[in-house]
Symmetry: C2
Subunit: 243 residues, 2 copies
DNA sequence: AAGTGGTCTAGACCACGTT
DNA sequence: ACGTGGTCTAGACCACTTT
């Protein structure tokens, strides 16, 4: 592994362990470079990671300040794993595939996955919950190249993303997300055990491979209050926008 | 301005203008450093910006590939300006302050703004919309230090953030966001002109200054379908997580 | 084998904050 | 005045992809 990443990890641990407290200053770059026995540039790279994560604040002319405890922040992989999230909360994830079928791509599918008329997609509908209570319904559309692998995924697979990476060499690199709300329809109500018209959080996403090819798009609907989706942004690396 | 930022901007323009098309490869670092007359490190810094934005994909051993057209992505400032978003959509933003008052901090206020019992907060309730139709209700709580300035903000101020920066030297640097859904209450229904129980998207945020001090927290409620909130994430810089 | 990006070094000068 | 981070240079070696 890269040295700068190890150093970042070591600093994260130091902050988590209270060696550096919130509001306190980190030693200067030059001092850290002596401590770790690396060039200043390597230290900068390590500190850059922590600044991006919102753990440190960096201002020209003044030492870096600890502004937050490192969160156990999902990696991309972790974010996409509902099971891991549930276990981390001390709950048992439950889930089942409601339906899975090959269909002709709709106009929406074609636009999101950059397909042409007549292309096929693989559509999977899953209900997920914790401790037996449904929390969300997930409606995913895989492009054909991904679908041929997705249809082999076992129903009880803990992480779809990890499975696709290991078994098919398909890696998710980037995603676009949109949030809105809607009222539960008849099908939603039945699957999520809420009354018709109950407010649901909708989360639409398009996932891309490293080379920018759309791999899947999905609309997830969450029971209100069941779980929240969180985002951090900063002036440096902005990710949130109206659409 | 920094040279690397100018170079990033120049590359963004080149991609937007079709000089480099989606799927095509960018010239190598060494070639670009000759073209721009800077060291390779400066080029790397410029390209890093574009990779973070999801415009370029970068793989060791292979040239960087254009995966997307640069989006007009809100800066932090722009994100927080409803008015700018509305104008960019060719619509006229409307809005009014429904109420504004000093209150004793509730437990929720104290937790979000790191206050102690008895501290005061300034609570402002605004309705915003476009072309006369209400779209959202915004309930903001400013910590006292910000509140003394916030209460002087004119009702028709186009950007609260810009006003606080210019008039009071208060700068927002980072924010945490949470999304969920809820049913419209009696007050929401009246302000947003929807029926009681209508699904609303809720967006809670805590905004921090550069040194990590919480400045305000807010809960915004959006009419379903009116506008969506969008987020991008990547394996490199992940920002989305369950909460 | 050649080319590419990823990492790292060891400096330099400047803009900004603090003292 | 001094120390700090921000920017930039000019190299080096390595891991990986492509030819």
């Amino acid at each position: 592994m890269a040295r700068y990443h190890d150093i970042a990890e070591s600093l994260r641990a130091a902050i988590a362990d209270g060696v550096y407290r919130r509001g306190a200053q980190l030693p200067g770059e030059r001092e850290l470079s002596l401590q770790y026995g690396v060039a200043a540039g390597t230290i900068r790279q390590a500190l850059g990671e922590l600044v991006n994560e919102g753990v440190l604040a960096s201002r020209q002319g003044s030492r870096r300040v600890i502004i937050d405890t490192p969160k156990k922040r999902g990696t991309f992989e972790e974010f996409r794993s509902f099971a891991q999230w549930a276990w981390s909360k001390g709950k048992t994830p439950t889930g089942r595939v409601v339906s899975a079928q090959w269909k002709t791509a709709s106009e929406e599918d074609r636009e999101n996955l950059r397909l042409v008329s007549g292309d096929l997609i693989y559509r999977v509908q899953r209900v997920r919950g914790v401790d037996g209570s449904p929390i969300m319904v997930e409606r995913t559309r895989y492009s054909a190249a991904v679908g041929v692998h997705a249809e082999k995924i076992p129903d009880d697979c803990p992480s779809v993303t990890a499975w696709l990476a290991d078994e098919a060499g398909i890696n998710f690199a980037r995603a676009e997300h949109q949030f809105s709300a809607c009222a539960a329809g008849v099908e939603d109500a039945a699957l999520l055990q809420v009354r018709r018209g109950a407010p649901l959080l909708t989360h639409r996403r398009i996932s891309y491979s490293r080379d920018g090819t759309p791999l899947e798009w999905a609309e997830d609907r969450y029971v209100a209050g069941g779980l929240k989706l969180a985002v951090d942004n900063s002036a440096a690396a902005n990710v949130l926008r109206w659409a």
